[in-house]
Each structure stands twice: as structure tokens, then as C-alpha cells.
């Protein structure tokens, strides 16, 4: 449930010895306050990331305020401004857009607040650190997986994320990288389903009626892959579908063979690592520029392991 976040916001309990150590400021007993803005809190993946961050913050005895960017970069900039005037000690940024949020980083850094990027890239060299993955790699992984599965010559349809969002652009880029290497892959159609399962289902139904020769479906996230899978199942067909993120439903679908694979993104790992890195940075410890917690393919063979990690 979401009570985790609330508790974190009001968290007063300093539980373990370690946390008191880490959470206490050098000069006094003032508690470290961190802010985190996510591009959205309305999908399972970011919620998982946020919850892991909250849990970690609790463990370290720091306060973490979470902001929902509502898929709007300027809202996220506003939230960074709000955090600055609120006087947070550090900011975790999960940007909607890589270019737009660089100005947010500039502002925070100018106010002397360290910023740690998480999960999606931001175009800035002022980040204290970046914890996450590269979406281009996810696109490459899933397309390569299809090539390995059905051969280098096939007809595919691509279901895209919201046009212009960094994750969409980069994952699409990754998909294209593999297609360029395998010129016999033919893209029959591509369209955005805005990360939505029901939109993807409708689009897939329409494509199934329009084309007889779809060999593979590449979706830029799991929600849309699952929607496409529903449409294919309803038509009594069996076309391999792949997505990205490794959300619970997708892991189950991989397990039951409904999806050929998903590309797992360790949101929980990224969330907690980001908090850890930022707390260290606030406390003046040295941190690396980048921590890679990258995408990993999930197949029927290794799905059990990921189901455990996704808890």
C-alpha cells in the first residue's frame, strides 16, 4: 500500500543504530531531508522505485519527500524549485525529459544542493551521481532477443511509449540499432500506446486485422506488451511479444509462456541505491559518478529469480 510514502514523509522513528549514525548531521542532531521527484507515480514501475527509496530512507533515518511529476517536465522543474525553497539537503531526480530537467539540476546545484539522477538520464554534467540504466540498451536487448528467437528476417510491429518522452526516444533508438544491423527485419507498423495496456490492446487488434504476417511484437514497456498479448490471445494466434520493465504481470506472463521475455529493470535496486548514494554525498563522503544497475533479460528459465527480486 501507499502508506509507506506517507510514513516516510512524517517519519520520526530512528530505528537502528546505523541509521542514527548516517542520518545525523555533523553539527547537530538535525535530520537530513531529501526530496525526490519522479516523472510519475501513476505506474507500477515508478511506484516500486519510490517505495524502495522510501524504505531505504527509513532504514537510514533520513526524511524523504516524494513528488509526482505527472509526466510534465515543467512540473518537475517547479518541484525542484519548491524543494530548493523548502531547503532540502539533497535531491533525487527521475526526469521525464533528459534535456528539460538539466535546468533543474543547474538550479539545485547553484543552491548548493547535490542531485542524484536515477533510472532515466538527464543531460547534465553537474549531477553528483547517476544510478540507473540506459534505455537504449533496453531497446537493443529486447530486439536482439527477438532476433535470437525468430531469426534475423521477420516482420514486426512496434508499440511505442508517449512520443517525445526520453524513455520512448531512447528505447526506440535501441530497437532501431538492432534493426539497422539486421536489414531483413521489416517494421509493418508502429504507433504510440502511451504506456497503456488498453490502448495497446486496441491497436494490436487493428493490426491483426490489417496484417496476416506479423511475426513479432516489440513493445517499449510491459504494460503495452501485455495489452498486445491479450489481443493476440483473443484472436487465437500465437505471436511472440516482448516488453521492458519486468512488472509483476509481465513476470507472470513470462512464467506461463504468454510473453517470450521481458527486460527487467531493477527499479527497487535503483531507488534504494540512489538514496544511499545521496545520503553519502550529503554527509560529505566520496561517491562515484555512475552506478549501473542495468537491464537484464528475463526468460522462462530465470524468471523465478526475478520474481523474488521484484518483491
Amino acid at each position: 500500500s501507499n502508506s509507506g510514502k506517507k510514513e516516510a514523509a512524517e517519519s520520526t522513528s530512528a530505528s537502528t543504530e546505523e541509521s542514527t549514525k548516517a542520518g545525523a548531521d555533523k553539527e547537530g542532531d538535525k535530520k537530513i531531508v531529501l526530496g525526490m521527484t519522479l516523472y510519475s507515480l501513476k505506474n507500477e514501475f515508478t511506484v516500486r522505485l519510490a517505495n524502495a527509496a522510501t524504505a531505504k530512507a527509513e532504514e537510514l533515518g533520513v526524511e524523504l519527500k516524494i513528488y509526482d511529476g505527472n509526466y510534465d517536465p515543467s512540473t518537475q522543474i517547479s518541484q525542484i524549485e519548491t524543494m530548493i525553497s523548502d531547503g532540502v539537503d539533497g535531491i533525487i531526480l527521475n526526469p521525464q525529459d533528459a534535456e528539460a530537467l538539466s535546468v533543474g539540476v543547474d538550479k539545485a546545484v547553484a543552491a548548493g544542493i547535490p542531485v542524484v539522477g536515477v533510472n532515466t538520464r538527464v543531460q547534465s554534467d553537474k549531477l553528483t551521481s547517476y544510478v540507473g540504466s540506459q534505455d537504449v540498451y533496453a531497446g537493443e536487448l529486447e530486439t536482439q532477443f527477438m532476433v535470437d528467437l525468430v531469426g534475423s528476417k521477420f516482420n514486426t510491429v512496434i508499440i511505442e511509449g508517449p512520443l517525445g518522452q526520453s524513455a520512448q526516444i531512447e528505447r526506440r533508438q535501441g530497437i532501431q540499432n538492432v534493426i539497422d544491423k539486421n536489414p531483413e527485419i521489416k517494421v509493418l507498423a508502429e504507433k504510440t500506446a502511451n504506456w497503456s495496456r488498453s490502448e495497446a490492446m486496441t491497436i494490436m487488434e487493428n493490426w491483426l486485422n490489417a496484417f496476416d504476417d506479423i511475426d513479432a511484437v516489440i513493445a517499449e514497456n510491459d504494460e503495452m506488451a501485455l495489452g498486445a498479448r491479450e489481443a493476440i490471445k483473443a484472436k487465437g494466434l500465437d505471436i511472440p511479444v516482448i516488453g521492458v520493465d519486468g512488472i509483476t504481470d509481465a513476470l507472470n506472463a513470462v512464467e506461463s509462456g504468454e510473453m517470450v521475455a521481458s527486460i527487467f529493470q531493477d527499479g527497487a535496486g535503483q531507488g534504494s541505491k540512489a538514496v544511499e548514494v545521496l545520503v553519502n554525498a550529503v554527509n560529505g563522503q566520496a561517491v562515484d559518478k555512475e552506478y549501473w544497475i542495468d537491464f537484464e533479460p528475463v526468460t522462462k528459465d530465470n524468471v523465478a529469480e526475478f520474481k523474488l527480486r521484484a518483491q
Binding site: 500500500s1 501507499n2 507515480l41 501513476k42 505506474n43 507500477e44 511506484v47 511505442e160 512520443l163 509493418l188 507498423a189 508502429e190 504507433k191 504510440t192 497503456s196 495496456r197 488498453s198 490492446m201 486496441t202 491497436i203 487488434e205 487493428n206 493490426w207 486485422n209 490489417a210 504494460e223 501485455l226 495489452g227 491479450e230 483473443a234 512488472i247 509483476t248 504481470d249 507472470n252
Partner: protein
């Protein structure tokens, strides 16, 4: 004295065009798409199209009632989300409840939220735009809370039939839509309730003087809209086989568009149910047809926007003359 002149209207091509402008628009779109993509007309695609359209269809019908009274219901998308989610929470196959329990839960949530809208608009006199915009936000918030933005999968077999099953060749959502249409047709044109709805939208004061309980009528249309959104939510959830917190987002736009394309004036009092049907079919055909032709996402936006405007233009140009 000749009181009634020309009792029977003569059929006159210009008047036909003005009366049925959007219908001709729909036919034209269908013809163009069929020529460019003959498979568009295949039976299974038509059924597919109808199944896809049924959700917007239900919302547009509910919206028609609201719009006829001069109101607007921006909350239908969120009600779809909320009712679908609560239905899903009950329909989980672990609970082993019969399918209709979940359906009833979905209906109740829709009706409850619709009633809230109705009370706020009619009795608390908040403009419909604001009341339902507030509800849009509130209902979505509640849906997220109920699910923590996580999908609720694993729904019972019986429940999944509603969105995915068929009776004969006809998908169940299409059957449901047809039943709803018949009931609504009767309520609007064969029962005095419909008169009262039209009268309320046309001139609330005159309706009141004529003994119509205007507030009750206004309240009731939001209840109908909510109930139909509840049904749509149940169908959608069943169709995507899991409760999704963000489902139904922005559905209000298509529903209102369908009603307005169909010739229902947002000022109230003027409209027609068959117009709404034409309206949601135009939207459905466009979405399906453009996908069938694999038109790029960018062009789809431009083409859809233009078609909507052009479809209505014919209608409006003629109407405005009178």
C-alpha cells in the same frame, strides 16, 4: 382555415444534407477507408471495431443525457477507472465470487460517483464543469489509493467473459451496448422522462413552471452517466483482464466529442441519440481505419483532428442558417 400547411414534409435534398450531414460524413469515411484498405470491411474487423467502440459508445450515450440538460461530465474517464478497479478487486479469482458480484460492485461505484456529481450540480449548484472536473480528480485519486497504482490481475473466468466473450459471433460488449441503446432510445423518445430531459436543457425555468422537477432531472442524468461509465469500466477491466489504475484516462474527451459530433448542443436542449451513435462510430472508424492503414502516429493526429472538424462543418453550416 388552413392551419397546418404542408403537413407532410417533402423530401428535399438540401434539407437531408443538413439533417444528416454527419451521417453522410461517416459513410464517406467508411467508403474511403474501404477503398484504401478493403479488409476494413471484413466481418471480423467490423465486429472488432464495434467491440472497441462499445466503451466510448456507452460513455457517449451517458454524456448525451448530460449534454441535453446543458451540462457536461468530465469525470466519466475517472469513473471508468474507479469502477473497473473496484470490480477487479472483487473479481479476483481467489475469492471465488460469482461474476455478477463484481459487476454489481462496478455498477454501484459508477452510480455512487454519478450521484455525487448529480447532487453537487443540481442541489449544491456548482457548475457542471467544475463539479465533474473535481470528481475527475477525486475518483482517480481514490482509484490509485485502492490499488497503489499496481495492476490487479488474476480475475475470475466468469468476469473475463464480459469483455472478451461473445454470444454467437457478436462480442458481449456489443450486445450490451445494443441493449443500452434500446433502453436509452425508449427512455428518451418513448417515455416522458426524455421530454423532461430535453425541456430542462431547453429552458429550465419554463420546465419548472410546467411542473417538471428540474433538479431531480438534472441529478438523474449524472446518475445515468455514472452508471454507464460503471458498466464501461467493468467491460474495460474484463477486456484487459486486470484492474488498471490509470484506465479510462482522458476517455471523457472522446465521449464528449462523440456527443457533440452527433449534433448535441453543449448549450442543452437540442440533440439526438442517433447523432451520438454516428458520433462514436466516426471516432471508432477513424481509430480503427487509420491503424489498419498503418498511418504514422503524427499523421493520425492531424487527420483525426481534421476529420472531426469537417464532419461537423457540413452539419453546422446548414444548421446555422435557420
Amino acid at each position: 382555415m388552413d392551419t397546418i400547411r404542408n403537413v407532410q414534409k417533402k423530401i428535399n435534398p438540401k434539407q437531408m444534407l443538413s439533417q444528416y450531414g454527419t451521417l453522410f460524413g461517416l459513410v464517406a469515411i467508411v467508403i474511403i477507408i474501404s477503398i484504401m484498405k478493403p479488409r476494413f470491411l471484413a466481418i471480423d474487423n467490423i465486429l472488432n471495431l464495434l467491440r472497441q467502440t462499445s466503451i466510448n459508445g456507452l460513455l457517449a450515450i451517458g454524456m448525451t443525457y448530460v449534454v441535453l440538460t446543458g451540462g457536461i461530465d468530465l469525470s466519466v474517464g475517472s469513473i471508468v477507472g474507479a469502477s473497473g478497479m473496484f470490480a477487479a478487486l472483487v473479481a479476483k479469482s481467489d475469492y471465488n465470487l460469482p461474476w455478477y458480484v463484481a459487476v454489481l460492485v462496478g455498477f454501484s461505484v459508477g452510480l455512487l460517483l454519478g450521484t455525487l456529481n448529480g447532487v453537487i450540480v443540481s442541489y449544491l449548484k456548482v457548475p457542471a464543469f467544475i463539479a465533474t472536473l473535481g470528481m475527475l480528480s477525486i475518483a482517480r485519486g481514490v482509484t490509485y489509493m485502492a490499488s497503489d497504482a499496481r495492476p490487479v490481475p488474476g480475475l475470475s473466468e466468469g468476469f473475463l467473459k464480459i469483455g472478451g466473450g461473445s454470444i454467437g459471433a457478436i462480442p458481449i460488449p456489443v450486445v450490451l451496448l445494443t441493449i443500452v441503446l434500446v433502453i436509452c432510445y425508449i427512455s428518451l423518445y418513448k417515455h416522458r422522462y426524455g421530454r423532461y430531459v430535453f425541456a430542462t436543457g431547453g429552458n429550465a425555468m419554463a420546465a419548472r413552471v410546467s411542473g417538471i422537477k428540474v433538479k431531480k432531472i438534472v441529478c438523474s442524468v449524472y446518475m445515468i452517466s455514472g452508471l454507464l461509465a460503471g458498466l464501461a469500466g467493468v467491460i474495460l477491466t474484463s477486456r484487459v483482464t486486470s484492474g488498471l489504475a490509470q484506465s479510462g484516462q482522458n476517455y471523457e474527451t472522446d465521449a464528449i466529442a462523440a456527443a457533440v459530433i452527433g449534433g448535441n448542443s453543449l448549450a442543452g436542449g437540442r440533440g439526438r441519440l442517433w447523432g451520438t451513435i454516428v458520433g462514436f462510430l466516426i471516432i471508432g472508424v477513424m481509430n480503427n481505419g487509420l491503424d489498419m492503414m498503418a498511418v504514422s502516429s503524427y499523421w493520425q493526429l492531424v487527420i483525426k483532428g481534421s476529420i472531426i472538424i469537417i464532419a461537423v462543418m457540413l452539419d453546422s453550416l446548414n444548421e446555422a442558417k435557420s
